[in-house]
Symmetry: none
Subunit: 251 residues, 2 copies
DNA sequence: TCGAATTTGTGCGTATGTATC
DNA sequence: GGATACATACGCACAAATTCG
């Protein structure tokens, strides 16, 4: 490779990526086969293979052994609005409110069990490892489609022996926590959301309708009342279908 | 490859991965060279190469040309705090403020060019496609390590023919959007951050010290003044090393 | 049902360029 | 400069899966 040029396999990958992005190669169409890439671009078999591997790693295409390499569908991600800040009603704002709190419409399934806090959960809830907690698993759907997995933990020291002990009673997902806590005279006043991303585990992607390795967004959310954690949760959403929107005041 | 066996390169990768995970090969140590792998495992050069590539794609090791392949440190992901909400000083809070706005310490490189707004950027800035904008590319580093890529767009209608036209030059260079706009009597009052995740492109991951396919977090950030966008940016951070923390008031 | 052609995925041997020590 | 190591590149072979006549 002469100085200053990029490797041949990246040059080929760039050209194929461009054709995918500009619509020359729309979703579900077949990429040129490795043999055709070799002749069309005048490169070796190895270069054609490496170029396909780059596009596969980037998620643009998937290979089907014996059949071909196909352009993957890339749906426009929907927004999940995760913010406590709302401008006053009636005020003109640039934010499309019609999308609403999509995360909290639709249906869900849940199941709760009592458990003891793991060290990680204990740290997030500022309790001792081994303390009793209520653990609840959720699967949220919008329009029937799986959208978000959630596991939440609440210290039984807060909700135990109260009508709010079981989270699935009443509305769910953030507002649910706030309102259930309010019924206990616990005023939830702020929340932290810690956003990360990683390849999805097989269990997660199968529940969310994907394949292992698809990227997921993971949010560690903790609600606080007067500086004390009252609930923490791990939210997992498929990154190819959703984005997470925050709307914040400055200063 | 006989039935029921896995490919040779995966067998080699599994063994090396095990040695990394059980501490036989601690961080910063060098993997056996490709030539040594070939002889130690009795495989071909290609198999040794593919095995190294698997571990690189998984983020366990990184290759340094001419030197060796080294076990990467896999630290707990650091937090990038992305919030305008700060509790009053002196008040007891559960948030570790010592981590500060890590994203904006360290060093960076940038380059600005004038360009015309693409339809997507025009929509984000609420201007017309083709309108003039100032586009600036950044590469942020912390402690010398690449940490975040950023591309920002500002309408020239806002900053044109003012000392703040070039984000990194003039009396307010490098001080951030809010301060630079304040110098123009433009009061930035809120911001939206739209968080997504996807496999990184080859270009991005090479700049960030990874390989194509490594998961990146992408934040589309837009600053508003009186309801009008004054700057929008795409931030790209490697998801295996960073998380993004939001701290929000409830209600 | 069979078989031929195509395609991906895996594997091998070799060569060359370039970075590092 | 020399030795070592990674990165790229070429050409080939074969197995498994798929497609299609």
């Amino acid at each position: 490779m002469p100085f200053g040029e990029q490797p041949a396999y990246l040059r080929v990958a760039d050209d194929l990526r461009r054709k995918i992005l500009d619509g020359t190669l729309p979703p579900h169409t077949r990429l040129p086969s490795q043999a055709r890439i070799r002749t069309e671009y005048g490169v070796s078999d190895t270069v054609a293979l490496e170029a396909r591997k780059v596009l596969m790693a980037e998620g643009f295409v998937e290979g089907r052994s014996g059949s071909g390499t196909y352009v993957r569908e890339r749906p426009e991600p929907r927004r999940i609005i995760r913010t406590g800040y709302h401008p006053a009603a009636g005020q003109s704002t640039p934010f499309r409110q019609e999308q609403g709190d999509e995360g909290f419409k639709g249906t869900w399934e849940s199941s709760s069990v009592q458990a003891t806090a793991t060290p990680r959960i204990a740290e997030r809830l500022r309790i001792q490892p081994g303390d009793r907690v209520m653990r609840t698993n959720y699967l949220f759907r919008t329009e029937g489609e799986p959208m978000m997995l959630s596991t939440s933990w609440e210290p039984l020291a807060v909700t135990g022996r109260t009508p709010a002990m079981l989270p699935e009673e009443g509305p769910v997902g953030g507002q649910g926590v706030v309102q259930r806590m309010a019924a206990l005279d616990v005023v939830v006043d702020h929340v932290t959301e810690d956003v990360g991303a990683r390849p999805g585990l097989a269990e997660e992607t199968s529940l969310l309708g994907g394949v292992p390795g698809h990227v997921v967004i993971e949010i560690q959310r903790t609600y606080y009342a007067s500086g004390l954690p009252v609930e923490t949760a791990d939210l997992v959403v498929p990154a190819d279908r959703y984005r997470v929107a925050y709307h914040l005041p400055v200063k």
